[in-house]
């Protein structure tokens, strides 16, 4: 047994290049697995611990105004464990030397100690005291982004009144893990902050003594969320309740969930690709090894070793590769997981978030790579086991080349003898050619599928920020205004155009399918807010009926002409049935649109203005922003350009990091596949190549026999790779899409080009390094033997 193990070590050393190349591919599987599953676990476990420790609510609801006593009634609903009412109020902050609009969401905290639900975790300082109405806790990310610390003073405009706030603590809470200003799609720590202020102080500032406008509750174990939501909605109906919702519709939770969903999609799509390729690589390398060692196998068996001992020997060879891959892949996966987690910590606000190395993830990753190696080894091991000593020791049957279709084609095409050599060798080992072609194609496909995410996000940016949103600023008012507010805005010097817009929270339903969303209306002749379909064309708002985003339409299972029931949330709670007049493909959110008149027919009021879209003269930006900052009726100003910058930064950080990883990994496939094919090809043809050298062929010409065959295979794999990538890209964009974002599949020609070029470079440099072995061909030695 020992001598066989010695042979194993020698074989591994002898084939180290090939073993490492396979290990690289397997390691890519391990690394992606360890990374994505590990990050997923770290995020999910951190979130769950945070939720539990800080008592994140299960159900949430907003309302215009309700007396505090309603909380007790709600707490009495069966299934409710604890209910807590509070006030949430948007405010604008005034930083003396800055013109950019800064918004804050103020949350009430109980004066005599921490809240029970959605508790604040303090990083520094303390909670506000009831005695001092100006004390606040600021959220950590906002404080960091704006250089605020305990003791800093800020001037705020709350409910139309100026008030000075003093930071007494820095903290964070589980309902703002992902903190978005209304209307934004990406966090902007500099321009939007969350604050916690004493309840009495906020009641006083917003004229809501002993009243609430928001409520969260937790459920008893096993209680039905939908029953509670139902009861809650009917209790709050008289108070302008805007419809209760569970965690899945909670913005912060939904974004985090979306991220987790994408990570698990990653875990399901990418490692299998690497594993598949590795299975085939082990298969061809071991197959070749056993063919060349036929006689040895026969001898060893003749010495009395059992079939199983031989089989185990070759199996061990494959498992040794898996071991190497597990070590390399785990190390890389941990490193990448740590980097990814750091990235997440920039967007998601946790009190603690670190990449937790979990043994079970590593064990699962190891199991996968060992299983793949073993699966690849089965064919070879079986043929080694089956070989009887007598058969093994007789010379192998000569390679049977017979006149076939390929050869007739070659003749007709007037191939040179070298050309025939190349083509016939491919035809002689069709299985291997298929494996090489499909391996390289998968590499190209994976590259394409990942690089197309850049196109995808570009298309989304273009559609969302440039085609749909033509405004520069969105101005939100403290409460619905009439046309005079628009007129006032239009008078500000530098304002070029002002359009009113309005969004009303509704529940849309089609039978049992119910979706919470908002209906937005725009003037009929709007130039600033357009609805854009998937082809980038503007679609007019229908005169009557609703326009649904395709996301929403598919969730409701409705088509054009179907009717949906519309229930207005808050206000009058009117109900109507409206036809679906058109469906538009949008990438962000799942919303509904209508004309102003249609929306009025639901709200039964004369279209008040909720917000205004404003186009400005860029040179007047600073003076306009300064004027708006000081206007009391304005709740907030969103600047499109700032959101765009943030969005692009997120793509750069996040997506490009991921893509860099996958470019490296996909190249590992190409390198692994081509290196192994090339080495096998070289060892099979060494004798022939040396013969060509003897006959007077130059090294470069001999190298061409090798490179020609590989080149043909790689060339064949490129279009297949694009095809595979097309499918994979489509699948991955679909898997990555959620209620929040739908990623468009819009690959550019450049992505096809890039992925092909990268594969080509990886494949051909690998082939060239192998072809350099032609330099060392020993003609004399080769001619001594038969083969």
């Amino acid at each position: 047994m020992r001598s066989l193990d010695l042979k194993l070590v020698r074989d591994l050393w002898h084939l180290r290049g090939q073993a490492i190349a396979i290990a690289l591919v397997l390691a890519a599987a391990t690394a992606t697995f360890v990374m994505s599953l590990g990050v997923h676990r770290s995020l999910a476990e951190t979130r769950d611990a945070y939720y539990a420790r800080n008592h994140f609510g299960d159900i949430f609801v907003g309302m215009t105004r309700a007396p505090r006593s309603v909380v007790d009634r709600i707490a009495a609903i069966p299934g409710v464990r604890r209910a807590e009412g509070g006030i949430q109020q948007y405010a604008t902050l005034n930083f003396p030397r800055r013109v950019v609009p800064v918004r804050a969401l103020l949350n009430a905290v109980e004066p005599d100690g921490p809240n029970h639900l959605n508790q604040v975790t303090l990083r520094q300082g303390r909670l506000p005291r009831a005695s001092d109405p100006g004390e606040v806790v600021a959220d950590e990310a906002f404080a960091k982004a704006n250089g605020l610390a305990v003791g800093s003073q800020i001037e705020a405009l709350i409910y139309g009144r100026k008030q000075n706030l003093r930071i007494v603590g820095i903290g964070l809470a589980p309902n703002f893990i992902y903190a978005l200003a209304p209307g934004d799609i990406i966090p902007d720590d500099e321009r939007f902050g969350v604050f916690w202020i004493g309840r009495k102080a906020l009641e006083a500032a917003t004229d809501r003594t002993e009243a609430i406008n928001s409520l969260s509750l937790t459920l008893e174990r096993g209680a039905s969320g939908s029953d509670v939501i139902h009861a809650l909605d009917s209790i709050l109906a008289p108070f302008g309740g805007s419809g209760a919702y569970g965690r899945k519709d909670h913005l912060s939770h939904a974004f985090l969930d979306n991220e987790l969903m994408q990570l698990s999609a990653m875990t399901r799509v990418i490692p299998p690709v690497f594993l598949l390729v590795a299975v085939f690589l082990v298969y061809i390398v071991l197959g070749r090894m056993i063919r060349t060692e036929r006689t040895q196998i026969g001898l060893i068996k003749a010495f009395g070793y059992s079939d199983w001992a031989i089989g185990r020997h070759y199996l061990k060879f494959a498992l040794a590769i898996a071991l190497l891959a597990t070590v390399m892949g785990t190390a890389a996966g941990i490193w990448m997981g740590d980097a990814m987690t750091r990235l997440y910590a920039q967007y998601y606000r946790f009190p603690f978030l670190y990449y937790r190395i979990s043994l079970s993830v590593i064990v699962a990753a190891a199991a996968l790579s060992f299983a793949a190696a073993a699966l690849g080894a089965i064919g070879g091991v079986r043929s080694a086991v089956r070989l009887t000593p007598a058969v093994a020791m007789s010379p192998p049957p000569p390679p049977a080349y017979r006149a076939g279709t390929v050869e007739r084609l070659g003749k007709a095409a007037g191939f040179s003898a070298i050309g025939h050599m190349i083509v016939r060798h491919i035809a002689r080992w069709p299985g291997r050619a298929v494996i090489t072609v499909s391996g390289v194609a998968l590499s190209g496909g994976l590259l394409f599928a990942t690089t197309q995410f850049i196109d995808s996000s570009r298309t989304m940016i273009d559609s969302f920020f440039f085609r749909a949103q033509r405004q520069d600023l969105t101005v939100t008012f403290t409460e619905p205004r009439n046309a005079s507010a628009l007129y006032a805005l239009a008078q500000v010097p530098g304002v070029l155009r002002v359009e009113p817009t309005r969004a009303v929270s509704v529940k849309l339903s089609n039978g049992k399918r119910i979706e919470r969303t908002a209906i937005e209306s725009l003037p009929a002749n709007s130039q600033l807010g357009l609805r854009i379909d998937r082809h980038g064309n503007a679609v007019a708002l229908p005169a009557s009926g609703l326009m649904l985003s395709s996301q929403l339409a598919s969730k409701l299972a409705v088509r054009i002409g179907d009717r949906v029931d519309v229930e207005m949330l808050g206000g009058r709670r009117t109900q109507r049935s409206l036809p679906v007049a058109s469906i538009v493909d949008e990438f962000v959110g799942a919303r509904a649109y209508s004309s102003e008149q249609t929306l009025e027919s639901i709200t039964r009021d004369a279209s008040p203005v909720g917000a205004a879209l404003v186009r400005i003269d860029p040179s007047a930006r600073d003076s306009i922003l300064t004027r708006l900052r000081d206007a009391p009726m304005i709740l907030g100003v969103t600047e499109k350009a700032a959101a765009l910058v943030k969005f692009r930064a997120m793509i750069d950080d996040n997506m490009l990091t991921m893509i860099a990883f996958y470019v490296a990994f996909a190249s590992a496939i190409a390198v692994g596949v081509v290196y192994n094919s090339a080495r096998i090809l070289f060892s099979e043809r060494a004798h022939e190549l040396a013969t060509l050298r003897v006959l007077g062929y130059f090294r470069s010409e001999v190298g061409l026999v090798l490179l020609g065959e590989l080149g043909l295979l790689v060339a064949a794999s490129l279009p297949i790779g694009c095809f595979v990538g097309y499918g994979m890209g489509q699948l991955m964009t679909a898997m990555f899409s959620s209620d929040l974002f739908r990623l468009p599949f819009a690959p550019s020609r450049a992505s096809y080009g890039w992925s092909s070029v990268i594969v080509l470079i990886a494949a051909m440099t690998t082939a060239l390094t192998v072809a350099r072995r032609v330099q060392k061909l020993d003609m004399v030695r080769v001619l001594k033997g038969r083969e």
Partner: protein, 245 residues
């Protein structure tokens, strides 16, 4: 034609001349002295047979003459050209333009038919004969479309001969060309070599363990311990058919 000139390799001159050729193989600590100072002169257009015990250095010398290997000491000229100072590309060019090789194990490319194996050489040669003519010379024209695996050993060796002579080489270097063949087949092969010598004026060097073959040579070198121990000149070379096997 690269740096190898054919001048001096014409009839009457010397194809190869060597002084003090030595070859030492080093493997680890052990040194094997395969050639210990070989001086030789091979006249153009002759048939030369190398005889000698196994391990005496015949193949080593042939490989050096053919530009497949380099001596560790001494000088070797092909005509006017000093082969020992050519770089690898020029040596390749020398083989391509001037040398035909035949080995004991035919070294045919299994994926090419008989004719294509010959074309491997005619594709790159300067003034080759058509591949079919070369095959006809060895009597295998009717087997042109067969793959090596479909030919007998003797037939394969004749294809190797056709491949070697198709370029109309100046020299044919043969290392035990009949080693794996029976007498009748061996003679057919030798006839083909003699024919090339006669019709193309090719200088032929044959290594063999079959002393009978020496009868067809113009000159016989007897090798011993890495040296040429004795040179015999044959005034009346025999026809291959007359060789006693």
């Amino acid at each position: 034609m690269g740096r190898v000139s054919t001048a001096g390799a014409g009839a009457g001159g010397l194809a190869f001349s060597a002084e003090g050729l030595g070859k030492v193989y080093k493997t680890g600590d052990t040194e094997v002295r395969a050639l210990r100072g070989v001086d030789l002169a091979i006249p153009t257009g002759e048939i030369l047979v190398l005889l000698g015990p196994s391990g005496s250095g015949k193949s080593t010398l042939l490989n050096i003459i053919g530009g497949l290997d380099r001596p560790t000491s001494g000088k070797l000229h092909y005509g006017e050209t000093e082969l020992t100072c050519l770089n690898d590309a020029d040596l390749t060019r020398f083989r391509r333009d001037h040398v035909g090789f035949i080995f004991q194990f035919y070294n045919l490319i299994p994926s090419l038919t008989a004719e294509e194996n010959v074309r491997l050489v005619t594709d790159i040669a300067v003034d080759p004969m058509p591949a079919a003519d070369a095959l006809a010379l060895v009597g295998l024209l009717d087997r042109r479309d067969h793959y090596p695996a479909q030919l007998s050993g003797g037939e394969q060796q004749r294809v190797a001969v056709a491949r070697a002579i198709a370029k109309r080489p100046s020299v044919l270097l043969c290392d035990e060309p009949t080693g794996a063949l029976d007498s009748a087949t061996g003679i057919r092969v030798l006839e083909a070599l003699a024919q090339a010598n006669r019709e193309l004026g090719t200088t032929v060097v044959i290594i063999t363990h079959n002393a009978g073959i020496a009868a067809m040579a113009d000159r016989v070198f007897r090798f011993l311990d890495g040296r040429i121990a004795r040179i015999e000149v044959n005034a009346q070379p025999a026809q291959p058919s007359a060789i006693s096997w």
